[in-house]
């Protein structure tokens, strides 16, 4: 354990990390966001979903520092008297869950398809790669919208709210697998003809499984960078879909849903309902992207 720590602190990555103050700030911020989201039930000043504690008289309270603000609602309240700060913490929970699950699923799909495509080759390979090409020329948001739209028709309006979050995760995952597949496929093509694969075949072991364990270390770096940046993008996609009203239902609001709700009150002057979730979303995505961007440069030997 001590050795591992030592290796981490001695690595080029750690050295580069120390030299980028912006990245350190981003790391601290994203860690704070994640912790705040995970422990929201413990940390949040109110439970916005406990209807008993809500009081409509508290509705539209501006932030605490303005003249008519109340100390207990630091960032003000929304139209139903829910504490904005608490809804933000619960909202980031949903946003982060969807984002991370979608990326994980996307990686599984992409890595599997890339491995199969590279290993099997032939018609299957060209088929998968053509699909990837076509899909890549459409923006992720459009594909996610289509999948969500289809799901709406298939499942029906009423059932949809219950499974909305899963549909959303699937829609975002399905729109982002291509890059993983391409990376893994390239590496698989290189490994396929190496001797250990042939040897594995000869001694009757499953070459695909063995390749997986060999290909994976090679693509870890790029896949990790892709995944980091993808989490940021997935959170944006989720927020956008929710904002467009086709994402998670209002009973389980994500940051995007909160912004959508607040948007209705923009013109009547209650800006805080939409601005604070918006700022939270930007901070979260920005810090993830700063880390991803730095990782990409730090792991790229060409730029070193």
């Amino acid at each position: 354990m001590n050795d591992t720590l030592k290796r981490i602190f001695d690595s080029d990555l750690w050295y580069s990390f120390k030299r980028h103050p912006l990245v350190i700030v981003a790391a601290i911020l994203s860690l704070a966001c994640i912790l705040g989201a995970v422990f929201a039930p413990l940390l949040a000043p109110h439970n916005p979903f406990d209807l008993k504690t809500l009081n409509l008289l508290d509705a539209f309270t501006p932030p605490a520092w303005s003249a008519s603000g109340k100390g207990q609602f630091l960032l003000g309240t929304d139209d139903q008297g829910r504490d904005v700060m608490s809804t933000i913490m619960y909202g980031s929970r949903v946003s982060l869950t969807v984002g991370i699950c979608a990326v994980a699923l996307s990686m599984v799909i992409g890595i599997t398809l890339g491995l199969i495509s590279g290993y099997v080759g032939g018609a299957l390979d060209s088929f998968i790669m053509r699909v990837a090409d076509v899909q890549l020329s459409f923006p992720a948001i459009l594909i996610a919208l289509l999948i969500d739209g289809v799901a709406r028709v298939v499942i029906g309006k009423n059932g949809h709210d219950e499974v909305a979050i899963y549909v959303l995760i699937f829609a975002i995952a399905a729109s982002g697998w291509v890059q993983y597949a391409r990376t893994v496929r390239g590496s698989t093509l290189v490994e396929r003809n190496k001797e250990y694969v042939q040897a594995a075949r000869v001694i009757g072991r499953r070459p695909l499984a063995i390749m997986f364990s060999h290909v994976l270390p090679n693509v870890m770096g790029p896949v990790f960078v892709l995944a980091t940046l993808h989490v940021g993008a997935a959170i944006i996609t989720e927020a956008t879909l929710s904002f467009l009203g086709v994402g998670v239902p209002p009973t389980q609001p994500s940051l995007g849903t909160l912004i959508r709700i607040g948007n209705d009150f923009l013109f009547s002057g209650e800006w805080w309902i939409t601005v604070f979730p918006g700022i939270m979303l930007v901070i979260l995505v920005l810090s993830i992207n700063i880390i991803g961007d730095w990782l990409r440069d730090a792991l790229n030997p060409k730029l070193r």
Binding site: L146, V153, F243, G269, V282
Partner: protein, 328 residues
């Protein structure tokens, strides 16, 4: 060159067939056109009747053929939500979306390219670092949030610019334009900035990365060794080589911009195709979804083709026949 174009054309047709197939599947399998067309109290006999009249008793490939035939003629049926022909709806809204997308694209190029060149040439200056970090903010700001913030500042607080709609439009034949009135011009500013924001950051980062790559090449080193001025090296040599790949991405971005217009149009209630589409998704209006998909696919394909042709104009390696004493 002709062979190349023919091959690209065939590829385009293949892509369109794929897109058409997805749209067709949406139409026929997801939407169940029969129940969409009949009242819920219809009898089985009624259903069979309609099924037959729609050709749904035909084999699958005949149905697909019929669908394609209709699609090529622009016939996508009737919108379930609005009860009007889909093609008519799309045609009405096409100008609004195209004007918005083009303005955003031009905006993205005009701002993105100089910023990319600057950050590549002065990579160690603090202004470059600020711009680069700023571009990360651009990537991290969701489109709709930029729109909301712009509305809050320029429409709600300052009251300078309108926050929704196209303003006053002028009809020129079938095309309605907002470019000819002050109101129309004012109305397009905020949406165009919103939509152009992402392309700016993307183009800037792309130009910067390509330019840095080109600046490392031997022919740039050799150009310096020949004593050419910095301006000649940077703008005569490096920039032209940089812009070749940038053309592709920007071209592809044009398609993406049109798709991203969905979000901007929703925020600004801009009466374009995107707004139509998002309403279709919310109301499960399958014919509109299918038609929009085909149209977007078509625009992508056309843009791709144009980009390929542009390549010929820029890169002599493709333009000139590969005969002569090429190779080594």
């Amino acid at each position: 060159m002709l062979a190349f174009i023919i091959r690209r054309l065939l590829q385009s047709v293949l892509v369109m067939l794929t897109v058409g197939f997805i749209a067709f599947s949406l139409f026929n399998f997801v939407g169940d056109p029969v129940s969409l067309m009949l009242p819920p109290e219809a009898t089985q006999a009624d259903r069979d009747e309609v099924r037959k009249s729609l050709g749904l008793d035909q084999p699958f490939y005949v149905q697909f053929g019929t669908f394609l035939g209709n699609a090529v003629q622009g016939n996508f049926g009737i919108s379930l939500r609005l009860g009007r022909p889909v093609s008519q709806l799309l045609a009405e809204r096409l100008p609004a979306t195209l004007e918005l997308a083009m303005t955003a694209a031009v905006f993205g190029l005009l701002v993105g390219i100089p910023m990319g060149v600057y950050t590549a040439l002065k990579r160690d200056k603090w202004t470059s670092k600020v711009l680069l970090t700023g571009s990360l903010v651009g990537v991290s700001l969701p489109n709709f949030l930029i729109g909301i913030f712009l509305i809050l500042i320029f429409a709600v607080w300052l009251g300078w610019l309108p926050s929704f709609g196209r303003g006053e439009t002028t009809a020129i034949g079938f095309w309605t334009t907002g470019f000819l009135t002050t109101e129309g011009l004012k109305a397009i500013i905020l949406p165009a900035i919103t939509l152009g924001f992402y392309p700016i950051t993307l183009i800037m980062r792309l130009v910067r990365a390509e330019m840095l790559e080109v600046l490392r090449t031997d022919y740039i080193k050799f150009a310096r060794a020949r004593g050419l001025t910095n301006n000649a090296v940077h703008f005569g040599h490096a920039l032209k080589n940089t812009l070749v790949p940038v053309i592709t991405i920007t071209g592809l971005q044009l398609g993406a911009i049109i798709a991203f217009a969905i979000i901007t149009e929703t925020v600004f209630q801009w009466p374009g195709m995107g707004l139509l589409f998002i309403q279709a998704v919310q109301f499960a209006d399958i014919p509109v979804m299918a038609a929009y998909l085909c149209l977007i696919g078509f625009i992508f394909v056309v843009v791709n083709l144009v980009v390929d042709l542009l390549y010929f104009a820029v890169d002599p390696r493709l333009r000139v026949e590969r005969s002569g004493s090429g190779g080594h």
